[in-house]
Point group: C2
Chain length 114, copies 2
């Protein structure tokens, strides 16, 4: 009973995080492509701090991991997270956003270091 209560509350926290179009799109993209901050800045045409702050929220609950590679910091989905299966199922319902990666590639702003 208590466990159930805790679980649905945690689910609400995750859904709240996903309830923002920028973060939802980020996570959908990360499902298939690791991305760095500057790629997101380009994709969303948003300021760098704004993007960093969205990523921080995802990182704070552990849904994503960060990994530095050279001057870039790449983000990826944390598949070890207790809510990863939940996240996966939600993302399954969301349309692919791969065209945004294509845009980067055509744009020459896709980062493929190391």
């Amino acid at each position: 009973m208590q466990t159930t209560t805790i679980k649905i509350d945690s689910a609400a926290i995750v859904l709240k995080l996903l309830g923002d179009k920028t973060r939802l799109t980020m996570v959908k993209l990360l499902e298939t492509h690791n991305c760095c901050v500057c790629e997101f800045v380009e994709i969303f045409q948003a300021s760098q701090p704004s993007i960093s702050q969205h990523l921080r929220k995802l990182r704070d609950v552990g849904l994503v991991n960060e990994q530095r590679r050279g001057q870039w910091i790449f983000y990826s989905i944390n598949t070890e997270h207790a809510f990863f299966p939940f996240l996966k199922e939600v993302l399954k319902q969301v349309p692919k956003q791969d065209y945004r990666i294509k845009y980067l590639e055509e744009n020459g702003t896709r980062i493929t270091c190391c």
Copy 2:
């Protein structure tokens, strides 16, 4: 492209609505039991206006329907909503909340009119 953008934005709006433990629990309950406002007041030990306002948000985007039966207004899931399949899949990931209905029944506060 445009369609895809609109869809993921709409998905984010729905997820944001579900990203509140009260509304998420409400919708999970409504998945299996139609409920009236006073039942939610009892279940969540919340004020009547607070419950009404949560239901209004769900109603405003059309996720739930309301139907007056005598002095009560019963809420139900709108299975005709474009996002109903999406909602259904999300709810599938959320633990059942039926024990809350049992609580009403044992409590004598379950409304079963008409």
